[in-house]
């Protein structure tokens, strides 16, 4: 199985605030929020399915959920066109 991680934009529209908060909390463990209901996540195929499963437990049929896969070119261009600080290049480490 391919273990490479791919970038996804995860967007959702959840009609009830309690469910919204639960979903928000779940996704925060997978990636960083870009906007109110928009995340960027780098996921392996396993993580993608895991996240979809965890969200499915929370969502109701009336809610919407979208995964937009991005290739590395898309990601680079997105980063280029952003305002600073929205989505930056990730380095392999962080020193605090």
């Amino acid at each position: 199985m391919s273990q490479t991680n791919l970038w996804y934009l995860v967007a959702y529209d959840i009609r009830e605030s309690k469910r919204w908060r639960r979903a928000y909390k779940i996704i925060r463990g997978y990636g960083k929020p870009l906007q109110y209901s928009l995340f960027r996540c780098r996921l392996s195929s396993v993580q993608l399915e895991q996240l979809r499963w965890e969200l499915e437990k929370v969502l109701e049929p009336e809610d919407a959920l979208m995964f937009v896969g991005l290739c590395s070119n898309c990601v680079e261009r997105t980063i280029l066109r952003n305002r600073v600080g929205v989505w930056e290049n990730e380095s392999a480490f962080r020193v605090v």
Binding site: M1, Y30, V46, W53, K57
Partner: protein
């Protein structure tokens, strides 16, 4: 970690077999063995996709749907039936699958039907339903005549008659599983390479590497090693010549088109906490860092591969739990740059450890490993000496002597017949190497940055302070790799148990010292990256890194980890970060029936 499931309830008999494991057995016997006997379990995308399906199903059936746990001592099975329904008075177990049904060509398609393919269950699904049916039978006392599999992707339900042939298949599979479980030898990799591409265990099983070993005859595996011993200067000097020399047989490995199964890099970040007084905590599934006078930071736990706590940084129990749960390693390093220890949830499979003890207690085997390790280390040192002195007059600066001195040790290394003898040779090579090191540093660099020999702890000069700290950083990564692979770090083959560091980690680290520490540090000195005043703290005879210096060294080291390196035998490239884990896995292969690839690491 939770390797001992409910299946081990019966103390006297063999543990019960999970019905799902029959699925694995039919897919690949090695997969079954790795999962059920060695307890190597990696999450599989299909598992989560299956769970999602179940959430959807439960919603559709409005709470009317529940799975049933069953076990049978008689069959030796345990399993969870997706759903049990009563149709015309008889019980029918249902199994839900996400994918498509298998198709068989029907010889006489019904009139007017365009579709000449008839849906049927895949063999492994048939087997599974058969096993569930037999479990239900035993639990209820009713005879089950039929099971059903629902394939959601093409929306069909397939009937599976529970006939004597299927029952016999189930019984036979169980006994095959039992005999494999009693076997100490791991079954060979499957011949059907396509199966490996979809197999979740590929990064731990390393099928490509195992095939590489069997494809190369043992002769050609050992030849490159022998040959490099007596290498001429020019040959070592030009990596391309070295590469070309081996292409004859090895290139055949590169021609297969199966995608790389061992990931080439690790996307997860290393999080170093160096600010004094900083605290690492948890908020939901995020790692939270509070550092004095800095804004609070939050990181999704799945984006973090390791947390390194330097000096007096704190971590909460909640954060540690989260790390254990999500397989994030935690390491502690002292303010002075010494390695303290690691925390990792790793796979604690006892089978693996027993094999490791047995293998490493065999003197002949151990000697062979030690020889290879020492050879890898000395050759890396030699290559670095050659590389660093490429544009100099080796005669006048005395490097020719170093080179000759190290080369002369190589035949002795091949002949040495005790670990102590090899230790002695390695020590002599090391002494020659460290004596030559200062000459690699640009003569115009501040004198204070040059080493005066190798001093361990405490470091006596700036160069040794850098090297010492970088070794500690390397040690944490080697420890992580050992724990991830599930080996016992306390049981090594070369180093004697002495300091607080684990012998096996000290053994493995030898492969990487030159390429991951010595070379980048010398290069950074020559790029004038260090400030002898601001980056260091001098206390009497001891020299430590300042806060600033520590940050710089972490950056230098972590960046080096992302450099790619091409394996000379496997002929694919991967980052140094991943290479460490690969070497730990190849080491284990030395005693699990696929030897020959460990310690091929050489500096380019």
């Amino acid at each position: 970690m939770a390797a001992y499931s409910a299946g081990t309830s019966n103390n006297n008999a063999a543990p019960l077999l999970r019905v799902q494991s029959l699925h694995a057995l039919l897919y690949c016997e090695r997969l079954f063995y790795l999962e059920e006997v060695e307890n190597v379990r990696l999450a599989d995308a299909a598992v989560y996709a299956g769970r999602r399906l179940h959430v959807e199903l439960a919603r559709e059936e409005e709470g009317d749907w529940h799975a049933l746990d069953l076990k049978s001592e008689k069959l030796g099975l345990i399993g969870r039936v997706d759903c049990l329904r009563r149709r015309n008075g008889s019980l029918i177990p249902y199994e839900h699958k996400r994918g498509r049904a298998a198709r068989i060509r029907t010889t006489n398609p019904p009139k007017g039907s365009k579709n000449s393919d008839e849906a049927c269950a895949w063999p492994s699904d048939r087997l599974q339903v058969g096993a569930y049916a037999m479990l239900v039978e035993e639990a209820t006392g009713q005879t089950i005549v039929e099971g059903r599999v629902r394939y959601h992707q093409d929306n069909v339900t397939v009937r599976v008659p529970i006939d004597p042939a299927l029952r016999a298949d189930v019984i036979q599979s169980i006994s095959r599983a039992r005999s494999l479980a009693d076997c100490v030898e791991r079954p060979p990799v499957t011949e059907n390479e396509r199966l490996c591409v979809k197999c979740s265990l590929a990064p731990a099983c390393l099928p490509e590497e195992a095939r590489a070993i069997s494809r190369l005859s043992s002769e050609s595996i050992h030849k490159p090693l022998q040959r490099s011993v007596g290498l001429k200067t020019q040959q070592i000097d030009q990596p391309s010549a070295d590469q070309k020399a081996g292409t004859g047989k090895e290139s055949s490995l590169a021609t297969s088109h199966v995608p790389r199964l061992f990931p080439a890099d690790d996307h997860r970040q290393a999080l170093h906490v160096v600010t004094p007084g900083a605290r690492v905590g948890r908020a939901g599934d995020e790692i939270e860092i509070f550092a004095p006078e800095q804004p609070k930071e939050r990181h999704p736990v799945r984006e973090i591969g390791q947390v390194v706590l330097h000096g007096f940084a704190q971590i909460t129990t909640q954060a540690l739990r989260l790390c254990a749960d999500k397989e994030v390693a935690v390491h502690w390093i002292t303010q002075g740059g010494g390695y303290i220890g690691s925390f990792s949830s790793g796979a604690g499979a006892v089978q693996k450890r027993i094999r490791q003890y047995e293998a490493l207690r065999t003197p002949e085997f151990r000697l062979q490993l030690v020889r290879r390790l020492a050879e890898a280390k000395i050759l890396s040192q030699l290559r670095f000496v050659l590389r660093a002195s490429r544009n100099t007059d080796r005669e006048t600066i005395g490097i020719s002597q170093t080179i000759d001195g190290i080369r002369k040790l190589m035949p002795a290394l091949q002949r040495a017949n005790s670990v102590d003898a090899i230790r002695g040779l390695e020590g002599r090579a090391g002494a020659l190497y460290f004596k030559a090191l200062p000459t690699f540093i640009d003569s115009a660099i501040d004198e204070r940055m040059k080493p005066e020999g190798r001093t361990r702890r405490p470091p006596r000069d700036r160069f040794n302070a850098l090297i010492g700290f970088a070794y500690a950083l390397l040690l944490k990564d080697v420890m992580s790799a050992i724990l991830t692979v599930g080996l016992d770090p306390a049981f090594g083959f070369y180093h004697r148990p002495r300091s607080q560091a684990h012998p096996l980690a000290l053994d493995l680290i030898e492969l990487f010292r030159v390429a991951m520490v010595d070379l980048p540090i010398v290069a950074s000195l020559n790029r004038r990256q260090w400030d002898p005043d601001d980056d260091f703290v001098v206390a009497g005879f001891q020299v430590w890194l300042s806060d600033l210096g520590r940050r710089k060294m972490i950056e230098l080291y972590e960046k080096r980890k992302t450099d790619r390196w091409k394996h000379p035998v496997l002929r694919y490239s991967l980052t140094y970060a991943r290479l460490i884990e690969l070497e730990a896995r190849l080491l284990e292969k030395e005693w699990t029936g696929e030897p020959g690839l460990f310690a091929r690491m050489r500096l380019r």
